[in-house]
Symmetry: C2
Subunit: 447 residues, 2 copies
């Protein structure tokens, strides 16, 4: 099957009015969540360090760095904004593949919007198309590839290429070239977990996909079947995988409808366990000093991906189901403030963390968990989370996304400015120029 060409043709011939309103609404939710995360992450140490390293090589000040004062050339802006959007591990997740759809797509599109006139409707359309293609290719790659690679780095780069390519008006052939130039840059090792390079992998998906589209727009040639060819992307990362999953129902059902948003600031696979801990704490008024042991029963992936027993830093703690359960019991939330070096080394949290045991149960769904707490007085409290908050079957509401936005944007903007930016995101489809969103996302000069 000519998968690359089929995807390119779908993108080039897509019309926004044919895309169902719920999909368009989901794209706005993705944008709001992206903006929340990017603002929350914009002052993370990894971002400052990357900016210091890269600023000397930046081109003209074309595009805004979200939540900061800096402006860089649009390729570097895509990188840094992509890193900001991912660095807190608070970004959206495509159910089933674990791809973070908005990081490559929104980061590159927002940077482009200041370089080239782009209506809000075209921005939204490009976002949907980029997410569609990257998620569909991720459906093929995911399986075993997810154990070693970051699928946002390997499939997400295609999303950025498609989004920017659509926004730049590429024809069908150029779109296959953009996909080719993106596919040949697909990269990212899970070994980067817990280091600054994890956000780098994700930001690069935005930057590299954008680069691919900008090259294709100049007729820089590539393969026209880079995804499915015998020496192509699938062959190298998921040899033997069938391509059908990438094409089934194309244009009828949209992958964004399987997009999810995190209420907690850590690896999504440990969210059900966090929900269970928060529930027990609230239901029974558990005093942390009384906790003697915590037994988690979770999907195997939760231990595989968030199995760090004794995290040494805030960054590492986001990949520790043990730390996550501990902060949920101690603080009743698992927000950004719970994943700092300070909280990792806090005496009480450390004590509770050491009381947590986790067991994999392949019979559970990945949004399901059992939590059992034994207290000093011998009482045993149990919770069964059937669908974690933020999962496909128990999504965060629009208002919960607004609250997340206000929480993460709170250090950058006052409430009036936050409201303006939030309104612009929800109203993106009506904006004459999507660049307005980028302008509103600049940190106030007085910061």
């Amino acid at each position: 099957m000519d998968l690359t060409r089929a995807l390119a043709a779908f993108v080039v011939h897509s019309r926004l009015e044919n895309i169902p309103p719920p999909v368009r609404h989901e794209a706005k939710r993705a944008l709001v969540n992206w903006m929340a995360c990017a603002l929350g992450g914009a002052h993370h140490e990894a971002i400052g360090t990357a900016l210091k390293a890269l600023a000397p090589f930046s081109g003209p000040a074309q595009s805004q760095i979200v939540g900061r004062l800096e402006r860089l050339d649009c390729l570097h802006a895509a990188l840094i904004n992509g890193m900001s959007a991912h660095v807190l591990d608070f970004d959206d997740t495509h159910a089933g593949t674990l791809l973070h759809p908005s990081v490559p797509v929104v980061s590159s599109l927002l940077a482009l919007a200041e370089r080239k006139t782009l209506s809000g409707a075209d921005f939204l359309h490009a976002l949907i198309l980029g997410a569609e293609v990257e998620c569909r290719v991720a459906n093929v790659l995911c399986g075993a590839h997810n154990e070693t690679g970051y699928i946002t780095g390997t499939a997400g780069v295609l999303g950025a290429a498609v989004a920017v390519g659509y926004a730049c008006g590429l024809d069908e052939r150029q779109m296959t070239w953009a996909l080719g130039a993106a596919a040949t840059q697909g990269a990212g090792l899970r070994e980067m977990a817990g280091t600054m390079c994890k956000s780098f992998v994700h930001g690069r998906a935005a930057q590299n996909g954008m680069l691919a589209a900008l090259l294709a727009a100049r007729n820089f040639t590539s393969s026209q079947c880079a995804i499915e060819a015998p020496r192509g992307l699938i062959a190298i990362l998921a040899p033997g995988a069938g391509v059908e999953a990438a094409i089934a129902g194309l244009g009828e059902c949209y992958e964004l409808m399987r997009n999810t948003y995190k209420p907690h600031a850590c690896g999504v696979v440990c969210h059900p366990a966090i929900d269970g801990c928060i529930e027990l704490r609230a239901r029974h008024g558990v005093a942390v000093t009384q906790v003697r042991s915590v037994a988690l029963r979770v999907h195997p992936l939760a231990l595989k991906l968030t199995g760090i027993r004794a995290p040494r830093s805030g960054l590492e703690s986001k990949w520790s189901i043990y730390h996550s359960a501990a902060v949920a019991l101690c603080d009743g939330v698992a927000g950004e403030a719970q994943y700092t070096d300070l909280r990792v080394h806090d005496g009480e949290i450390s004590r509770v963390r050491e009381c947590v045991a986790a067991e994999a149960d392949a019979a559970l769904r990945d949004d399901e968990a059992h939590v059992a707490i034994t207290l000093a007085d011998g009482r045993r409290l149990e919770a069964h989370v059937t669908h974690a908050l933020g999962s496909v079957d128990n999504p965060m509401s629009d208002r919960q996304l607004d609250a997340k936005f206000h929480q993460l944007a709170g250090e950058t903007f006052n409430v009036e400015r936050r409201d303006r930016l939030l309104r612009a995101c929800w109203a993106v489809e009506e904006l004459a120029g999507a660049a307005e969103i980028a302008r509103l996302a600049a940190a106030p000069a007085s910061m």
Copy 2:
């Protein structure tokens, strides 16, 4: 085994005076050959197209584009010069792995030399170390990975990181981070063969490895075992491969001693067949019109990698053993001029190309070939090439490299300027600043 740390420690503690003179001399040969190829490729369509696409995003004019007038920021210069050095498929090849050692290493170092003071001796030392690490990792990856991936994209990126990292004075820990940031960018699909994206993959190895080192120099953290970790580079690209080959004899024998240079402007695997055709043409004064059939017996890789039966363009013809045999018989050489659209569509060459049959013989070495020509008068001429010119066992001489340089630089520079640049390359170890080479490689303004 802590492979990443072992390689970092080796690099950081290396001393030029402990590196045997033949290795240092080989590094100079690699530099001369790189410069020849980069000058020859600098005006290729792929380079012009990439420059047009990327110039709007370039930072300050820090580094020279070899053989041209443009100056870009050093990261973009590393990319473009790497593309120029590879685009003719005339660059060096590490025997056994098919990695092109100089493209990532020299392209990044030369760009850096104008950004930061770098003595010729340090340049040479960094070149040797970068080549050493990339080739050693390639020794581990090569096998099956070579069938789908470009090893210069996946292992070569480490070479650029090491070379630039060494030149920037990274400490041991920073060097592991540079290797980590490079490893997580390792990418490149063989599917790009015959398109502009092939040179892009190779240039990106230079640019991305350099980026990794510049990030590490600012303490941008990464894994310290990204190459060998269970979710690292080897695990994703060559699962199960043993790491011993990357460490055996480290610091005692140097991989540059297995570096080879191409006398012919096409895929190295078809060179023995070309040598046989040239030999028969010269020995017997074969008139092309008399050629009725040509039978090649070659190593299986020759058919796998250069098996394009009916090339449609000059670029594709470099991957056609059939075209290569035809031009060798018609023109007596297989230089850049033989791989143009014009020659591909030439009537006589097309006729001879169609007379060529090729058969794989697993009993042959990859630098070996049998050629048999049947003439119109029934005569059968045979040649057996035991070691192709440019192979480890039949290397090009320094003077042959000089001739290749003069041939490829001829369109850019007059003979006096060519001599100056060539002398500077051979004398790199004595130069106060390696930047002199970059300055001498700028096209004359009158071009």
